[in-house]
């Protein structure tokens, strides 16, 4: 992928990465949305949606509580969606390889958010006297530069990830040795395990919640039988 081809994807990654924390937190950065949009950019929204759903299940494990550190799914969704959507249909290694690239991007991008927050804190320290004096200019400068740097951060992460992973995923898909059914099964098992364990982690303290989940599974089983 050339830099010119990566630029629109980088811009999308920048905008969706900004949504994670800075603006507007409307959850367009959730992987189910980000990967689908990226797939649509490449011209294959169903592929983007498929990997987006898998990433969304895994993302249930990392909800953004307080000041905790978590992976950044906006840029990662864009990278995963565009990589998977760009692979020829029916290639068994496309989904696992693109998913791995997306998870690595999420991890690295999460780290880049920590670096950015430290940078903002250091800028704040430099302008502390002016802020304590109630300077409007100092406050606006700190705030708007924080948002601009976040946009830049997400864009750079996306472009860098695409530059590294696009040729890598293509090469992996070309020499992939596992069968198609097994490749899909591994991804499905990973997504299922992480999602169910995440739901248990989030909701285990709520009374009767296991019964509601079981009722849901029974509804699904009913649908399966009646179809």
């Amino acid at each position: 992928m050339s830099l010119l081809e990566a630029l629109p994807i980088g811009l999308l990654g920048a905008l969706l990465g900004l949504d994670v924390v800075s603006f507007p937190q409307a959850m367009v950065s959730r992987p189910i949305v980000a990967a689908t949009l990226a797939g649509a950019f490449i011209g294959n929204p169903p592929a983007g949606l498929l990997i987006g759903v898998v990433l969304e299940m895994i993302a249930l494990d990392t909800l953004p509580f307080g000041a905790s550190r978590y992976p950044e799914w906006g840029s990662a969704g864009v990278v995963g969606g565009s990589l998977f959507a760009a692979q020829p249909a029916g290639m068994p290694g496309a989904l696992p390889a693109s998913l791995l690239a997306a998870l690595l991007t999420a991890s690295i991008s999460g780290w880049s958010m920590v670096v950015l927050r430290r940078m903002i804190a250091s800028r704040l320290e430099r302008s502390r006297d002016r802020l304590e004096d109630g300077s409007r200019a100092a406050l606006l400068s700190l705030h708007l530069s924080g948002m601009s740097l976040d946009l830049l951060r997400a864009g750079l992460v996306t472009i860098t990830a695409m530059a590294i992973f696009a040729p890598l995923v293509k090469a992996i898909v070309a020499i992939w040795g596992s069968e198609s059914a097994a490749s899909h099964a591994v991804v499905v098992v990973i997504a299922a395990v992480v999602a169910v364990a995440a739901l248990w982690k989030i909701f285990h303290s709520v009374r009767h919640v296991l019964w509601f989940f079981t009722a849901g599974v029974l509804v699904w089983a009913g649908l399966l039988v009646t179809r």
């Binding site: 924390v21 949305v33 969304e56 992976p71 696992p96 430290r118 802020l131 364990a197 989940f213």
Partner: protein, 256 residues
């Protein structure tokens, strides 16, 4: 306490809209020193211009400095604090009392918001969207369902918080006893569990595709994995384990 500069009803719509819009950018300068603090100052700034002397006056500068210090809350419920603190500043409440009020407000707004939004509403909306995918929904249907459902709650919560804060000022604490905030997370959690029970197998079925050659192995492996992760709950993050397992599988598939 001095005379009020402007009551909530007197605050121009333009000012309220500016504050509401800025609420979406509240975390633009989030950092490990002041957390949301500078964001709170940024959102309140249009209303603080109404203080005597305007942007060059000592009242404005003192209020802006005070409100830009350390603060923490859930971003969607921070509107409650922004509204209440704005009201207090415009009413001329004693700065010492404002500081105490700020400190008291931060904790509850964080925990209530985390329970309602991150641990209930977001997973519920995710699972509904995953369910729409499992039921055969198109990309537009899945993404549209998620964004409309999630943001209906999101936009309303921010608007409610700002309105209730502006109208009640330092007496806003009682608003946190709202049944939606107290009981909502429990009901949403049950709905999310029900949705998860239907949506996850439906979606996994669609991803697996037609044919059930590996279905037994998939279910067995998934059950073992869930039990292992449930046991390791406090010691391991599921997504990190997923990353490790996937990396090993990719390596294996490339080398064989």
């Amino acid at each position: 306490m001095t005379a009020s500069v402007a009551t909530p009803a007197e605050l121009r719509l333009r000012v309220k809209l500016a504050m509401y819009f800025r609420l979406f950018a509240l975390q633009g300068s989030w950092n490990y020193e002041t957390l949301l603090g500078t964001g709170i100052g940024f959102v309140m700034e249009p209303a603080l211009r109404l203080l005597p002397g305007g942007v060059d006056g000592p009242a404005y500068r003192a209020a802006l400095a005070r409100e830009s210090r350390y603060f923490n809350a859930h971003p969607y419920l921070a509107g409650v604090a922004v509204g209440a603190l704005t009201r207090a500043e415009l009413d001329g409440v004693d700065p010492v009392r404002i500081e105490r009020f700020r400190t008291a407000l931060a904790g509850p707004l964080g925990s209530v918001g985390d329970r309602l939004v991150w641990a209930s509403w977001l997973p519920f909306c995710s699972l509904v969207a995953i369910g729409v995918y499992g039921a055969g929904g198109s990309p537009l249907a899945v993404v549209g369902t998620f964004l409309l459902l999630y943001n209906a709650g999101h936009f309303l919560l921010r608007a409610w918080g700002l309105r209730i804060g502006l109208s009640r000022g330092v007496n806003v604490a009682s608003a946190l006893g709202n049944p939606v905030l107290r009981q909502g997370p429990l009901y949403i959690a049950c709905a999310a569990a029900l949705a998860g029970g239907i949506a996850l197998p439906l979606a996994l079925q669609r991803i697996t595709g037609p044919g059930r050659a590996l279905i037994g192995a998939i279910i067995a492996a998934a059950l073992i994995g869930v039990v292992l992760l449930a046991v390791l709950r406090e010691r391991a993050q599921g997504w990190r384990i997923a990353l490790g397992v996937l990396a090993l599988f990719v390596l294996y598939s490339v080398l064989t």
